[in-house]
Symmetry: C2
Subunit: 319 residues, 2 copies
Amino acid sequence: MNEFELVKKYFSRLSKSNTSSLNLNDDVFFDKSKSIVVSIDTYVEGTHFIDFRKPELVIKKIIRSSISDLICKGVDPKYYFISGSGNSKSFSSSNLSKISKSLSQEQNKYKIHLSGGDTVYSNKLSFTITSVGFSKKIILRNKAKFNDDIYVTGNLGDSFIGLNILKKKIKVNNFLSTYFVKRYYQPILFPKLTKKLLDFANTSIDVSDGLVSDLEKLINKQKLSYKLYMKKVPISKNLQKLIFLKKLKKEYCVTQGDDYQILFTASPSKSRIIHKTAKSLSIKISKIGKISTSILKSEIFNQNGEKIALKKQGYYHKF
Amino acid sequence: MNEFELVKKYFSRLSKSNTSSLNLNDDVFFDKSKSIVVSIDTYVEGTHFIDFRKPELVIKKIIRSSISDLICKGVDPKYYFISGSGNSKSFSSSNLSKISKSLSQEQNKYKIHLSGGDTVYSNKLSFTITSVGFSKKIILRNKAKFNDDIYVTGNLGDSFIGLNILKKKIKVNNFLSTYFVKRYYQPILFPKLTKKLLDFANTSIDVSDGLVSDLEKLINKQKLSYKLYMKKVPISKNLQKLIFLKKLKKEYCVTQGDDYQILFTASPSKSRIIHKTAKSLSIKISKIGKISTSILKSEIFNQNGEKIALKKQGYYHKF
């Protein structure tokens, strides 16, 4: 049973009386009466980050992953809390000093503030990050409309390549290695887009588990299907080069997650304003598919326009 | 270096620009402008709870420990979030069902609602609980006044005995075993007292690390000292009996923490209202000491009125 089904089965009834909790079917908690939005995620060494040899980079990755949950919903993150479990090696003075410096840089970049947290002893390293923002309105899941266009920001797949370089499963030259590893540790978020999203997105999610997996989560409670065109999925020039050199499958590279790009749907009538917003903020926003009726099955088309079935649909935490 | 010093050294500068964060020198975060109060704590198996053989009890303990941070500040907890890291054994269907049932009982008891959380895979079991409440006013640390009386709610020491029974370090009959183990897993909180505290407490903390340790944390930034009378420290009849039977030291038993009782100071002029409140709510509130000037050293007096020095001042997470 995967994480999503687990939560659903055992815990959704506990939050039912609390109408503001979105019935645990979203990545964030929203209490409309207090205009508060909260995201909480736990990151475990070996599962969510490969090791702690670069604490300053791991911290950037998990902070961005956490605030990404708010940003993709149209909510500016305001504070964050960090709880670390680890041993004396993980939390050595040298590491703490690196973590602190790194947090300071992220604070300046994203205008967020450390508001608390604790450190506890454990032989297994993990962090829980809580991000809090305030907003009267947020973009929810499961609000896609029939005939909506499907969009994604930035590029997908770079982070997955970075991870595989770190795991020594892919060998590339120094230049490419630096590029991809940077994208793994420091995904590019678009805080400037946050509030604008409210103008056009019907529903949204950030791509953390994987493009297809997250698209399915986005509309999981709706009687809808989708058409997804791999040819339209945006990738970086460097990934384009690598796919050619290493004979990789694009549809595989772009569906492995950890991208932290914003996946959203919008009415075709919003096409113009989305184009304008993208241009004025210099943010790449690509139309990659279409929402369809539930009479049809969801379809994915590869680079050559052929219908394909993906074997591994992104990433669930298996128990 | 202990947890408190660590946080202070490396992270306090990160929260300085954020005046609402109490500079990380409190157990809760308070944003006055939003009237929001947040407490986050991580509980690791082997450190904060001994094992997971009774998941339904461990869950009660950690939920109470978390909301206790809010209750002792005069804030009613409203929602909570739970993030669990563990393996398939810890999160088996049977355990999840027990956890869910237990959470449901706690929700009814304390009028709180599950608002989110996640489960991730880890070979080390831990939980991070986030509790959120709303209040325009909270009782802060370091607001004791010279000549304040020091009070504590309920009884101290039972939880520590319960822990030692579970660890098989103390052997008692079934009746006593059930009693003390229950107090270890299910500390008695006083939610009815929460809002009343605002009427008389100058400063407060919950006793989690240990009576003396928490008293020192309570006034750590103030130029004050204290006098603490062990004779006045409230204990249960069962603990009184056990101390007699096993020739235990009361001052040791009541300073080991995990009690989740409220330790607060109040002006002597509030003595009457405190007495009245205690009586009307049927809550034991005991005067156990006095706040004094920093010219004097803090003093602890044992059962016979003799000045003593405690060797182990409660519980810090060592790194």
